[in-house]
Symmetry: C2
């Protein structure tokens, strides 16, 4: 059923001779389809088509783009059974996860469709003229957001749907009016192909320009480099490792025309547990965190990789309980042999540190490509002086940091690099008396959570999924929620422009009925 | 009266042995004061103080920060006569310009003070909890903007007040809650010192933390490099040349922790004149543009460096009239011998091109350091194939591009690099029938102007001063107007946070009475 070809705009293409296959980690063997590695010529074609499409797509009314997004969602739903099957074959993830992620992906696409219908996202701002002003007349100025141009999206290894082909980056870029070229993740090229086929159907059904979407297959890294170096690409979205994200940032900045890169590069998501709450909640917390650490084999960028507490009887109770409970959880299959190899190597490297003690380690035999969960512990004083302990271990692993007292705990938190999330577990009393600690934590994270777990990323306008470097390459933007559209737009000011040539969002009579900043006041009123 | 020392926080400091002087271009001699080049130790002290100040400053209520900004404006006004005198001594610019720029600077500072009083700038967003949601409860998420940290601001050579010490970058960063270290422009270190003294007085009067502002003197480039490489600096603002701006961007991106750089790097500000309007307006347009090209010796980033038209009798009339009128304008003094040297060298280089013809050249003797205005012309077909003709000539120079027809004119516009502004001069009829041309121009500019001149940058929320690279390093932001505050903030999400620990902007009862996005609806209502 899969064809293994690239979508260069609406056309299937397989010019190259290099092929690769995806892998079924549960069966421990390659899947059948041969995927055709895109050639330099195919990449250039996709970029040229994307730019030509951009000149048309950017002027297509938001409401039509909204219908395009809805159609993508509809077309995905029509083939959802096939998508879920291929997803599971390519990831080893369970059926329920695939379905849940598909639902989230559809929800994300529809949220951007709704955003386009409302129309406020263009940030319209109007300052009217004052021809009598002295010493010089005041011009009429009107400003709104316009799309940057073709966007390059890299599929994420750990979210074959929600952060990949028709995921948040693609949906937000298309919503903004930017054509998208997806560099499909090689581990789930089949899932990507199916989702791409749905997008291409939607392109045709809603009459969008050819080239508004392309899907590029590649098993190596050169394709990504060639794409990012193509001068017609104007922005990049990426979710993955720090090493890969930083490489993309460097490439983008070394272009003749540097372009924005939004890379979400993962995190160790510190969790701080204060002493008082442990007295009553140590057992519940242990259950909650045993589940959070092992959820999806720990293959989430919001996985709690480090848990910080203060030495006490109850902290020990918590640690012992967590150690016991985590070993009771059945190991699960990881995405790919490369992922499990990295997990094991990085875990071994970290626990080989003299200061680090393993406190729980799953040692029973497991199926091939299944991960074994591990907990380790280190003293606060040792953590502070060893930056290597902040390396992300992508998988079901967490490092407990035991501090001597609150002062040392603050020092530990003060040493932590930029993170997607930070969680504070505390009683109402003790959180009120530890505002300084919260203040230190806030400086380091994009989202601060009270008495919860970092796993689970809500998709709405108030979500910030991103954070200070190295959590992301630009802490000023989010990768999740409708505000992620801001990554792909820039404001344009119109000075003294004739009404008929102004976009509807900026016309006097406000035909789109959107909220606008008019002479400093937010209003939907006409001018 | 000037002391020549650095302000390291509130303290005057002159540890180093290296000194430099500013220059009076009208008198063609050095000014008296010896300015003390900051040492590495002084730079580190300023950065450490700024970071310590940040931890306090970011939590100071917006209304107090508003008072701080007002106090800066008040203190500048108290010494405005001294500032204007030193400004003129250091720039050769006339008294009226100094006063006008001072007024604009005060206006900018007060506009940020007003912004803080209104409070909406934090972009508050709230999505309330739904504990009954299946399969998982929906958390309470609240998001608002918080400051990035200490900001490094480089003073601009051509705006000693409005884009320098207490200019737009500094005012917006302080408003956001970011301490500022200014690397004062060496050509007007005295003006910078006086303005710094006013800021430091305001720091003391309003009880702001020591280190919230520092002023660093330097005649070389190493100081800037050391500052940008200091890990406590979290963002950079710059206005100047492409070469310098790009260097800063590269330095910032090569840090262990890359940081955002907003560099506004100038422009050739294309002006497109369509044929029909010339029939009636050629003479008026010639007057308007002779003035715009020579305003302030052409030392504006929005100076019209290129004027594009279609060969016709009336275009020739316009060119002849412009040539005559521009020579009637009295030359004026440039900022510094370096500036006039660069002007002359770059102009000579451009007009030495075989395809370029000089059509007006001021040849009379002028005072030393006064610039001579020049107009040159090139054919559209030659412009298209020669990217060197797009080099900015900083000074009273403009290149006329004569096209054979509208198709060639569109090709010329299509070749133009990213610009701050693009202007279209047309009759109502012909602009309506040239939407494609406008569309091409929009892709290349941050501000598009109808029947005006690009010089004159209005300061309000609808201004976009920036644009596609190389006009700026990040087209998603503006350097002018209250929205420039967005460069120095990032969103932070609070998940399930106790009400008492939420910032006022996010509390249920909306004590600041600001506009918030609550469950997808913009409202000032309580929750």
């Amino acid at each position: 059923m899969l064809h293994g070809k690239n979508y260069i705009g609406n056309n299937l293409s397989s010019e190259g001779k290099v092929i690769f296959k995806t892998f079924n980690p549960k069966l421990n063997k390659n899947n059948d389809c041969n995927f055709s590695e895109a050639t330099a010529n195919e990449i250039n074609k996709a970029a040229n088509l994307a730019y030509d499409a951009f000149l048309e797509f950017k002027n297509i009314d938001s409401l039509k783009r909204s219908k395009f997004l809805d159609s993508i969602a509809d077309q995905i739903l029509l083939i959802q059974n096939d998508i879920v099957r291929v997803y599971c074959e390519e990831t080893g993830l369970p059926d329920g996860r695939a379905k849940g992620e598909l639902g989230r992906t559809i929800g994300q696409i529809r949220s951007f469709s709704e955003l386009l219908k409302k129309g406020d996202w263009v940030n319209a701002s109007i300052d009217t003229a004052d021809t009598d002003r002295k010493p010089v007349p005041k011009p009429d100025l009107r400003k709104m957001s316009i799309p940057l141009g073709p966007v390059l999206v890299f599929g994420a290894s750990n979210f074959p749907l929600a952060y990949s082909t028709a995921g948040g980056d693609t949906a937000s870029a298309l919503a903004a009016g930017c054509p998208v070229i997806v560099k499909s993740h090689p581990m789930h090229a089949g899932t990507g192909e199916l989702v791409s086929s749905a997008i291409i159907k939607a392109v045709k059904i809603t009459g969008m320009p050819n080239g508004v979407f392309s899907n590029i297959n590649s098993g190596g890294i050169q394709t990504g480099i060639d794409l990012i170096n193509n001068p017609l690409i104007k922005a990049v979205g990426f979710t993955g490792s720090l090493k890969a994200g930083r490489s993309l940032l460097n490439l983008a900045n070394n272009r003749d025309e540097p372009i924005p890169v939004f890379a979400e590069m993962g995190s160790i998501n510190p969790v701080i547990i204060l002493p008082e709450i442990l007295k009553t909640d140590w057992n519940n917390l242990a259950t909650k965190y045993a589940n959070s650490i092992t959820l999806g084999s720990g293959q989430f960028c919001t996985n709690p990789g480090i848990i910080i507490g203060i030495k006490s009887t109850y902290f020990t109770e918590f640690v012992n309980s967590l150690s016991k409970k985590i070993l009771d959880i059945a190991p699960s299959c990881m995405l790919h042999p490369n992922i499990i190899r990295n997990y094991n190597n990085n875990k071994m490297k970290l626990i080989s540190d003299k200061q680090v003690n393993v406190i729980a380690d799953f040692t029973d035999d497991v199926d091939v490509n299944y991960s074994k969960q591990t907990l380790a512990m280190v003293k606060g004083s040792d953590f502070i002086i060893n930056n290597d302990l902040q390396e992300e271990i992508f998988g079901p692993f967490s490092l407990l940091v035991e501090c001597d007292n609150m002062i040392q705990l603050e020092s530990v938190v003060d040493k932590i690099n930029g993170q997607l999330t930070g969680t504070i577990i505390a009683s109402d009393n003790e959180i009120s008396s530890n505002k300084a600690l919260i203040d230190i934590l806030k400086e380091r994270v994009g989202r601060i959570i009270f008495n919860g777990v970092p796993t689970g990323v809500e998709v709405n306008a108030s979500m910030l999924h991103g954070g200070p470097y190295p959590a992301s390459t630009d802490s000023r933007f989010t990768a999740v929620g409708v505000k992620s559209i801001d990554r792909w737009v820039r404001p344009l000011s119109y000075q003294d422009f004739p009404s008929e040539l102004l976009p509807d969002s900026l016309k006097d009579n406000n035909p789109k009925n959107i909220l606008r900043l008019v002479n400093g006041i937010y209003t939907k009123n006409k001018i």
